[in-house]
């Protein structure tokens, strides 16, 4: 497996059927959608609020809609997309719960990826430095981080249980030692994963 972005794109693309209709919530500069359009010939729309992200998408020819994800509910009909994606965005919206429920209302299924705040690395940093941990996945100080809703993999399991969300598949990624590359892991995932990607569906 390759670098972080490519790894996540591959992992997500693997599960997406050809020609699906996909909504990427918080699409940034549209790399994932570009990958999916090439790889799976999807019909894709991205939502983002950032001006630069929007212009980057338009330059690439990726359909993009300027929209503030804190502006919920989403103004789209139920199940109007095959798949909705929230890739490393859920930690940045104010109403995370509503956001996840909305993505599963608008999409038949959802793909949700986030940085795991429960990893041993983060916990050790927290314990030994006494300061908010800074990692490669979350490289911000407490005062300028866009990540305002931090969670762990176990937190997410609890959330799904409480909200009748079925986890159809999950992939855990951990960066390799002394490398910028990532690998999939299966054991002690809450402690070892840097990133988690879940395929979810409302029951």
């Amino acid at each position: 497996m390759g670098k972080l972005k490519e790894t996540i794109h591959e992992v997500i693309s693997n599960e997406i059927p050809q020609n699906s209709k996909v909504l990427d919530l918080g699409c940034g500069s549209g790399e994932l959608l570009e990958y999916l359009i090439k790889d799976k010939n999807i019909i894709g729309h991205g939502l983002d609020i950032n001006d630069y992200a929007i212009i980057n998408c338009i330059e690439k020819g990726i359909p993009v809609i300027q929209w503030d994800l804190d502006n919920l509910p989403l103004d789209f009909p139920d199940k109007s997309y095959d798949i909705t994606i929230l890739n490393q965005t859920i930690t940045q919206v104010i109403n995370s719960k509503k956001m996840i429920l909305e993505m599963l209302r608008v999409g038949k299924e959802g793909i949700l990826g986030f940085s795991n705040f429960g990893s041993l690395e983060i916990m050790l940093k927290f314990v030994f430095t006494g300061r908010m941990p800074i990692t490669r996945e979350i490289p911000f100080k407490w005062y300028d981080t866009p990540n305002i809703r931090l969670l762990t993999i176990k937190d997410f399991y609890d959330f799904c249980k409480a909200n009748n969300i079925e986890i159809k598949k999950k992939v855990f990624l951990k960066k390799k030692l002394n490398s910028t590359k990532y690998k999939q892991i299966r054991l002690f995932t809450n402690l070892r994963s840097d990133l988690a990607v879940f395929w979810i569906k409302k029951i």
């Binding site: 019909i43 212009i55 338009i58 993009v64 809609i65 300027q66």
Partner: protein, 378 residues
């Protein structure tokens, strides 16, 4: 209207046998289309961009090709050599709309049957008619597919109409500060204007061409409309409650009623300036066409109608625009998304209200040029 024009307008004349059918079913002709082109049409004829002017615009988009520099183009900021819409790369066409008064056949044109101006004998015109007339011009120029079509406000409505009427002729479309139908609030402002024109004693049921035109009515119409083009904040910033010092003779009744606010003076100036270049009957026909426009023809099935669109589309709105609000642009975007179309939407945070698209705006220009020059080949 006998205007001295210091730049080259071209004319295309068709339907001399009155064979051209309007949306109403009425046959009409002959029709002259005034248009200007900038840049060079390439051999494959695939680099043409059609720009559609707004309510009172004309063919003169950019002054970059003028022999003298007397007449600014209405979109000089965005269109020209090396600009966002680059005339060194693209062949830019802009025609005056049907029922207009800037060279294209309209109510002020001479009716060949009577040798007099049409006046209110001119047939009722719709946005679709404006588009069908433009299509004749594009056919005449031998262009099978437009690289891009774009327009703001009423021009944006025509872009939308093009997109559903001749979808196979468009590679991409940009709808700016527009809507798929006019809101009752804007129809109301339009009606104030139309009433002002018709109440002017010079109006004479539209037959004023051999005497003084209904300038007062038309000026008031323009003043009312102009309010809707600015935002409350931009008025506050531009005029505040400042007082105009030197009153002119034309500033009737001021002094009597107290001092004149700058905003009052500005609106009067806009009114005075407008009547020098615009025909009152054209104003009635075009504003009514805009108010009547509804891409769904009243059927309220926007999503189904939008399904006809085949090209990629960009919709741009401005946060402070209350003439056509961002929420009205959003309706078009949402319908396109629902149908899985290639749609992008940008809501620009400009304080200048509806007029924002005609004012220098780096973000809008960047978005437009990125969209036209997009790297992804289909």
């Amino acid at each position: 209207m006998g205007r001295n024009i210091p730049y080259d307008i071209k004319y295309y004349i068709f339907s001399q046998d009155k064979s051209f059918e309007l949306e109403s079913g009425k046959k009409f002709g002959p029709i002259t289309v005034a248009y200007e082109t900038y840049g060079t049409l390439n051999e494959q004829k695939n680099n043409a961009i059609l720009l559609i002017h707004a309510l009172t615009g004309d063919t003169h988009v950019t002054s970059d090709y003028d022999k003298d520099d007397k007449t600014p183009g209405w979109w000089d900021t965005a269109v020209g050599k090396g600009k966002a819409i680059d005339t060194e790369k693209y062949f830019v066409i802009c025609s005056n709309c049907f029922a207009g008064c800037m060279g294209t056949t309209g109510p002020a044109s001479t009716n060949p049957d009577t040798d007099k101006p049409y006046g209110l004998e001119f047939p009722l015109t719709t946005v679709r008619d404006m588009v069908s007339v433009q299509k004749q011009l594009i056919d005449f120029l031998g262009i099978k597919k437009l690289k891009c079509i774009m327009g703001g406000s009423l021009g944006g409505m025509q872009v939308l109409e093009w997109s559903v009427l001749y979808p196979q002729m468009l590679e991409s479309a940009i709808v700016i500060a527009s809507a798929y139908k006019t809101s009752p609030q804007i129809i109301a402002f339009g009606e104030v204007g139309r009433n002002a024109i018709m109440a002017d004693p010079n109006f004479k049921n539209g037959n004023y061409y051999d005497g003084a035109p209904p300038e007062k009515g038309l000026a008031i119409a323009r003043m009312a409309a102009h309010i809707t083009y600015l935002s409350r904040d931009s008025m506050e910033a531009k005029f505040g409650r400042d007082i105009k010092k030197d009153l002119k003779e034309s500033d009737e009744m001021y002094g009597f009623f107290g001092p004149m606010f700058q905003v009052e003076s500005y609106l009067r100036y806009q009114g005075r300036k407008f009547v020098q270049r615009f025909d009152a009957n054209s104003y009635l026909y075009i504003t009514k066409a805009m108010d009547l426009y509804d891409v769904t023809s009243g059927k309220n099935n926007l999503t189904e109608v939008i399904n006809k669109v085949q090209c990629r589309m960009l919709v741009i709105s401005f946060e402070s625009d209350w003439h056509f609000r961002p929420s009205e642009s959003w309706e078009i975007v949402k319908a396109m998304m629902n149908k899985g179309k290639e749609i992008s939407y940008v809501n620009i945070n400009s304080p200048y209200g509806h007029d924002a698209f005609l004012i220098k705006n780096v973000e809008m220009e960047k978005v437009i040029s990125s969209f036209i020059n997009t790297k992804r080949d289909k």
